[in-house]
Amino acid sequence: MTQINTPQDPQRRSLLIGLGAGGLAVVGMTLVPRAVLANPEDVKMAIEERIGDAATMDGRISLELPQIAENGNTVPIAFEVDSPMTESDYVKVVHIFAEQNPLPDVASFYFTPRSGKARASTRMRMLKTQNIVAVAEMSDGSVYMAKTEVKVTIGGCGG
């Protein structure tokens, strides 16, 4: 590839660049997992399936995920939603979605006023670097959303 930097006729140069790009594309293909991945659009649809067309607001959810996950087979995830958790004002459910896993759904956690805190933690699988989305539905029908990116070193969904 160092030849590209030496002065040559433009046609040959573009041919070399073309070949280089083609080579990269082939390498890229082999890295793509066999399973068809979810994408942000699928996550949007999955969210709509859960909450309908309710408008989502930012805030109130703090998502705790590592910035870099070495092992995508088991990534710790925790969240807490700011709420008084009383009979009249509590968090009903929190849904977690993954934008680049084979399936967008991760889990749904159902709270009650007797939960005391809208906090939960578990461990999840991540196929690759991606955004994790949390959607919280409150008892008054309002919906909050938060998103955070996790870089994954070794993916963990099997294959």
Binding site: D105, S115, S121, M124, R125, G159
Partner: protein, 110 residues
């Protein structure tokens, strides 16, 4: 019934009335995602996960969760509840085959 499924829970033995306590649970389960292929045959290994977790406190549901294949092997679940009265917390896990695993823990509320 899947083999070697062992549920474990960690609940404080005592708590003050109204205190928010943390509960930690762990169950040994392969959580087969349905995405993996058998290396020899190349065929997909069928999905077999725990898809539902529930916690009741003296018979009243206080927390539950739906799990999808993105939940890791040997699923861990931690959450909170208010210590309202002395009694029993019951934990239930249900998998794709309909097998149910349960564990209970006693708590004394002063």
């Amino acid at each position: 019934m899947a083999k070697n499924v062992k549920p474990r829970v960690k609940v404080p033995k005592t708590a003050a009335k109204g205190e928010i306590i943390e509960i930690k649970t762990l169950i040994s389960h392969k959580m087969e995602s349905g995405q993996r292929k058998d290396n020899k045959t190349g065929e997909k290994i069928p999905r077999m996960i725990i898809n539902k977790f529930t916690c009741t406190y003296n018979g009243v549901e206080v927390f539950s969760a739906d799990w999808h294949p993105a939940i890791s092997t040997n699923p861990y679940m931690a959450f909170n509840t208010v210590a309202t009265e002395s009694g029993t917390l019951e934990f239930t896990w249900v998998d794709d085959e309909g097998s149910t695993y349960t564990k209970s823990a006693k708590i004394t509320v002063q």
